[in-house]
């Protein structure tokens, strides 16, 4: 309402924000501001301090120094709930809703409408949820259980929850990492609507395209320090990347070429008629030694299901899997691991890492499990092994005894990779390995995948980002409705042509 004339008065003004964790300074005297009715992007590598700044802003963390002003007044939030009451809502990268409750209960959680006796007014709760969903243009039954919906829908529910109160500032931390094209467009429509209503939106994403599409202003952080604040229209992408990384972008632009495997390379893994319903039906996959097979498909095309079926996580209802020409029954992940077929889940936190255990314990876990309970790896050997992986994958901070949950997303992913690679696998299936990871770490992981393939490993690389699939994959499998409809060499393909193939398949079915 006053956004046009009150440009001089920011809605949110953070000055000299400093946060220390023991000896580390996560945030070092950062200034930050947001105006009403703008979409602001916070950019930086993992560990740059984005999450810390968000947490300080939303009451999840206390500042060691500095202050936060909201509408000109100094505020100090003891909890995220206080921030919420003051009008600052957050949707975190990892969805923090309760999958066992209904959509309506999730949206109203902690602020359920009460009736006269103080009990929850369920009718009002459903209305509240319905209105919140309607504002997002979503047709989700508020009475359905949240966990029954795909991740993307859950994400949208989380956003609906955040905007269903009188929101002044909306923080979206990687909101689009599990959304497909249409859903992103839908989200952007809502963001623009909120913006028009005068809400200040903090949009954190690793997708540069999206940042440039939706954001008015960009603040860049590096190593816990402020690099600067820029208007999106005045900042070239190449400059942005350079500011984030603090090094020349030329190093990034240099595209690593991955060798295509020789024609006479042997087939490591071959799957025929693989079926796990619902999800994938009659899928065929052939993996050649030393290749990276990219998997492209829309959300719901069965990408994750395929990965789980190939690695013994879900049991096959039909179909056979041959490894080195021999038919094998992958009855459990354990069996698959022992045959050298390993899987990295898209859900690092729930299906990958053991959060409270250390980096060392996480890296050695699969190897130890493989050796069995009795043949414990000697402590010195464990340390040596973990240290070598920490060095090889450049895991930061290089502290073996730190709980893995305290690492940034990219480093957590590397720990998970280290765990799997320690098994010296033949086939590695990576489901969204770069999801929620910053540009720098993303490139590192992509390059690592290429190196692994060059060393003879067969890699299945699943990603919602077509550009990444093309960049990493030597061939691309097009997945549609649980079937591999085509496998094409990635050479010569563009994102657009691949998108056309992925989308066409869907059109044909419908």
């Amino acid at each position: 309402m006053m956004s046009t004339m009150e440009d001089a008065q920011p809605l949110v003004q953070v000055t000299g924000a400093t946060v220390r964790f023991r000896s580390d300074t996560a945030l070092d005297g950062v200034d930050f501001r947001m105006f009403a009715g703008e979409v602001h992007s916070l950019m930086g590598e993992n560990g740059a301090g984005k999450s810390t700044l968000i947490k300080a802003l939303t009451g999840a963390l206390a500042l060691d120094a500095g202050e936060v002003r909201l509408g000109g007044e100094v505020v100090r939030f003891a909890t995220p709930h206080d921030a919420h009451l003051a009008g600052i809502s957050t949707v975190y990268q990892e969805i923090d809703l309760l999958p066992n409750l209904t959509v309506a209960e999730n949206i109203a959680l902690g602020r359920e409408p009460r009736n006269r006796v103080g009990a929850i007014d369920w009718a009002a709760t459903r209305r509240l949820a319905h209105d919140a969903l309607a504002a997002l243009g979503l047709e989700i039954d508020p009475a359905s259980v949240l966990g029954t919906h795909p991740l993307a829908v859950q994400q949208l529910v989380a956003i609906a929850r955040a905007i269903s109160t009188d929101v002044k500032v909306l923080v979206l931390d990687e909101p689009t990492s599990s959304l497909d094209f249409d859903e992103v467009a839908e989200l952007f429509r809502v963001i623009r609507e909120l913006k028009a209503r005068g809400v200040a939106i903090l949009f954190v994403s690793h997708f540069l395209d999206q940042v440039y599409e939706i954001c008015d202003r960009i603040t860049v952080l590096r190593n816990g320090r402020l690099v600067g604040e820029y208007l999106t229209t005045e900042l070239l992408r190449i400059d942005l990347v350079q500011k984030m990384l603090g090094r020349s972008a030329a190093a990034l632009a240099e595209r690593q070429t991955f060798d295509a495997p020789d024609d006479d390379s042997s087939v490591t893994l071959s799957a025929r008629g693989v079926t796990v319903l619902p999800g994938i039906a009659d899928a065929d996959v052939d993996l050649v030694e030393g290749e990276v097979l990219g998997v492209a498909g829309l959300l719901g095309s069965g990408r994750t299901k395929l990965a789980r079926a190939l690695t013994g996580v879900d049991r096959l209802e039909a179909g056979i899997i041959r490894i080195d020409g021999q038919e094998r029954r992958l009855s459990s992940p354990r069996r698959a691991l022992s045959l050298g077929v390993v899987y990295s889940s898209e859900n690092r936190r729930t299906e990958g890492l053991i959060g409270e255990l250390s980096v060392l314990e996480n890296i050695t876990l699969a190897l130890q499990a493989q050796r069995g309970v009795l043949r414990r790896i000697r402590s010195a050997r464990q340390r040596e092994l973990a240290a070598s992986w920490v060095e090889a994958l450049d895991i930061r901070p290089p502290d073996l005894d730190r709980p893995v949950a305290s690492l940034s997303g990219g480093n957590q992913q590397k720990v998970l990779l280290a765990r799997l690679l320690a098994l010296s696998p033949r086939v590695i299936v990576l489901d969204e390995p770069t999801r929620g990871i910053d540009v720098g770490a993303k490139v590192e992981i992509q390059n690592l995948v290429g190196e692994l393939a060059d060393n003879g490993l067969s890699v299945v690389f699943i990603s919602a980002e077509l550009e990444e699939v093309l960049r990493v994959g030597t061939r691309v499998a097009i997945l549609q409705d649980g079937r591999v409809v085509d496998v094409v060499p990635s050479e010569g393909l563009t994102t657009d042509s691949l998108l056309a193939m992925v989308a066409r398949s869907e059109g044909d079915e419908a």
């Binding site: 992940p333 691991l337 890492l353 314990e361 876990l365 499990a369 050796r371």
Partner: protein, 348 residues
């Protein structure tokens, strides 16, 4: 100093020492140890001896809790194993025969192991929630024990059997050596093999562990089996102490003491990282507390209330949030801050 205070065992040990201090202040003879016929006697020695059944049960409980589970059946399992062993001895008619005793003890332990395997089967294979699964045996176990003793309290007269709970070796109670052996064996199995860390992984994140190739099912099953076996041994010690198999009284409410000991030792009920040393300290704390009650002549009728009050106090002292709160209060009121806690302790 700061590093010492940050150690996870710091507060459990402080609590134990505080309890001993309170006892000593109210009756200095508490810490005195006398020697008679080359045997040590005294309250502290009694605590070492009497804590043995709880020690065994609590060690098993630690492993179960580390897998995110709970075992409510341990008291009933004690009743079963005691009943099995004593019934065999009584039926044999030759209570001093070493081979009869060996069979009786073996059968008692097997009965405990079988109970644990049953629990593990329900939980690890059938996927029943631990609290429900072990509730089954908690209720049925005492009935089974009564069936074995044909509805009576089986009593025996056997000096060798009596030795387990009441005998002395090199001046110390034999039962204490049983405790020590159990601690050592469990510690070696958990920490010298990979069982400990794999158990923690399963307790923290079962699905991620499964995907990493950990045999989660086997580990969970094993934890309940171990708990059953240890409870079985505890049942033998208990029956040896009173030379009777009392299906209704054996190990009554010991599951609660065991859970409490584990929690006092700093192992979270949410599963995951566990501390055997913490459990040992927790067991001694509870046993000391029980002696305190006897010592101070608290009437039996109000014992549970007294016990509950002290437990609340102990848990508060170990709660970092409570300590911070007291600290803040201290900052504001400087002198008066620490007094409420101290006063309650002295009053006890």
């Amino acid at each position: 100093m700061n590093a010492v205070m940050k150690h996870r065992l710091f507060w459990p040990v402080v609590v134990l020492l505080a309890l001993i201090l309170v006892n000593t202040l109210s009756r200095p003879s508490f810490v005195s140890i006398t020697v008679q016929d080359g045997r040590l006697y005294g309250s502290l020695i009694d605590i070492l001896r009497n804590s043995a059944p709880l020690m065994l049960v609590a060690l098993g409980m630690t492993l179960v809790i580390a897998t995110r589970g709970i075992d409510l059946s341990v008291g009933a399992v004690m009743a079963v194993s005691g009943a099995v062993a004593l019934q065999i001895i009584q039926d044999s008619g030759d209570a001093a025969n070493p081979s009869v005793l060996a069979v009786a003890i073996g059968a008692g332990l097997l009965a405990g192991l079988a109970c644990g395997l049953w629990n593990g089967f329900l939980i690890a294979v059938l996927g029943i929630q631990p609290i429900i699964a072990t509730l089954v045996l908690m209720l049925a176990g005492r009935g089974i024990a009564l069936l074995i003793t044909r509805g009576f309290i089986t009593t025996i007269n056997s000096d060798p059997y009596k030795f387990m709970a009441q005998g002395y070796v090199v001046g110390l109670p034999f039962a204490f050596y049983v405790s020590l052996a159990a601690i050592a064996i469990v510690a070696v199995i958990e920490r010298r093999t990979a069982l400990g860390v794999l158990t923690e992984a399963v307790g923290i994140n079962p699905e991620a562990s499964r995907l990493a190739g950990v045999r989660a099912r086997g580990i969970i099953w094993g934890a309940y089996a171990a708990s059953g076996l240890l409870a079985g041994f505890a049942g033998l010690l208990y029956s040896s102490n009173i030379m009777a198999a009392d299906a209704n009284a054996a190990g009554l409410y010991i599951e609660l003491d065991a859970i409490l000991a584990v929690v006092l030792g700093g192992t979270s009920l949410a599963g995951g990282t566990f501390s055997l040393a913490g459990t040992v300290v927790g067991v001694f704390t509870i046993q000391t507390l029980k002696s305190t009650i006897t010592f101070l002549g608290v009437p039996p009728a109000v014992t549970p209330v007294f016990m509950a009050a002290v437990v609340v106090l102990v848990v508060l002292i170990q709660s970092s949030r409570f300590r911070r709160w007291v600290g803040r209060l201290g900052g504001r009121l400087s002198v008066r801050s620490a007094q409420p806690v101290e006063r309650t302790e002295v009053a006890s």
